[in-house]
Symmetry: C2
Subunit: 228 residues, 2 copies
DNA sequence: AATACTATTAACCGTATGGTGAATACAAGG
DNA sequence: CCTTGTATTCACCATACGGTTAATAGTATT
């Protein structure tokens, strides 16, 4: 039979509820009482287990962050296919995108959660892209760091701005029909990029895509803080 | 000499301070006391002038919304040039982007501020794009509503996720150097799109770009509310 | 200069919230 | 079965915040 007392389990329940609450309302907007209620746990346990709301938030970010990292590691070589993989990786988890977005709004310039890992990701991806460009698989006149954020933008944006997506397309970004259409659309510039006119290699490939995009720390106590 | 009592002026001062505060912290995170302090005005005046925090927020959104709309109205015909104009329109005002982002996170599905105007914008733009496509100036196999949110994504994303932008490019999205690089980058797919291989017209043009992208109403009292 | 009106201020209130002190109940070890 | 440690609960605090009541001081009008 179930143990009536199991700290590990309550921890997990809290983390689950907190993820939902923080994704929905951000650090400042999330309510400890609500997290406890959702977790079916006494509010006090949050502080017993994690010390403070902010520490709990950091824990959530850190977990989600590493979880997502693995996903990104598995990108295929072909650029067009890689874009689709990134789309999958970047848009299959609404809560993650929302956490990213809260962070983007809340960060004041203080160190991000997992900043090193992120920097790592970007520099690895960058090196890979540079190699591909040197081999002529990406047009020489294309700015690679611009290409990077562009790819993230292409995949993350619809989830990050769902109302706008719905207004433009009539579909929710989570709707399977939307996702199919988006994938079809993304294939277009992908192939175009692959057909690299600069050097003329008809089919392109990137090295394998790894890495992640991430998280960050808290802001000024229980609010939001400026972002720049 | 200056009037010591001027309701119009205090209203403006409040609006100015509120814009900054709401852009920085969102509806839930913004503090009435702080707005008053920044405006150099007694807190009571916020409620005297606007009734409630939320009403003030709506006023801010509505103003910013129509202000931006005018900007978007003036897009040139040529697609490549239009993209640059949209970039300018979409990325020249950080506060606006942040308001959009707060909205995106906060909206629970309730009606957006200026939703009708936005729908208008999207349908007008959509019609224009369809005409251009019919004339063969945009590849026939390109999904136009996907194209629309893509263009917004390309221009808005760097400001919406500044930390990511900085990690990828080493520059802040507001940095003039970044903006130049981004413009140069955006010209690339712009010209590529213009060279419409589907029907073969070498130089493309869109009709004029109008419209706007926008705002929304409040959420559950002084918090954040779910977004989907 | 008295009147009437309204912009402005000071003080205050009720509530919600993050966080805590201390009691309590369960489980394992002896 | 009793003790010991810890997971869980209950009651509570201090504070911050949106909003309001009521008094006050400019200003225009006559």
């Amino acid at each position: 039979m179930e143990k009536t007392r199991d700290l590990g389990r309550t921890r997990e329940r809290i983390l689950g509820a907190a993820l939902r609450e923080f994704a929905a309302h951000g650090l400042g907007g999330a309510r400890c009482g609500e997290i406890a209620r959702r977790a079916g746990v006494n509010k006090r346990m949050l502080f017993y287990c994690f010390g403070s709301k902010e520490a709990l938030y950091r824990e959530i970010l850190s977990r989600k962050f590493t979880e997502r990292a693995n996903f990104f590691e598995a990108a295929p070589d072909d650029l067009a296919a890689a874009i689709l993989h990134w789309y999958e990786a970047g848009s299959s988890d609404l809560e993650w995108v929302r956490l990213l977005e809260w962070e983007a709004l809340g960060a004041a310039g203080d160190k991000l959660v997992g900043e090193d890992a992120r920097r790592d990701y970007f520099s690895r991806t960058s090196a890979r892209l540079r190699r591909a460009q040197a081999r002529g698989r990406i047009p020489r006149d294309l700015d690679l760091s611009q290409l990077q954020i562009t790819m993230i933008a292409l995949t993350v944006f619809p989830l990050a701005f769902p109302q706008m997506t719905r207004l433009a397309t009539g579909l929710a970004p989570t709707d399977p029909r939307f996702r199919r259409k988006r994938q079809r659309f993304l294939r277009w510039p992908g192939e175009r990029l692959s057909a690299a006119p600069a050097t003329g290699t008809p089919s392109a490939s990137l090295s394998k895509g790894e890495g992640t995009v991430g998280n960050r720390a808290p802001r000024r106590a229980a609010r939001g803080a400026v972002g720049g």
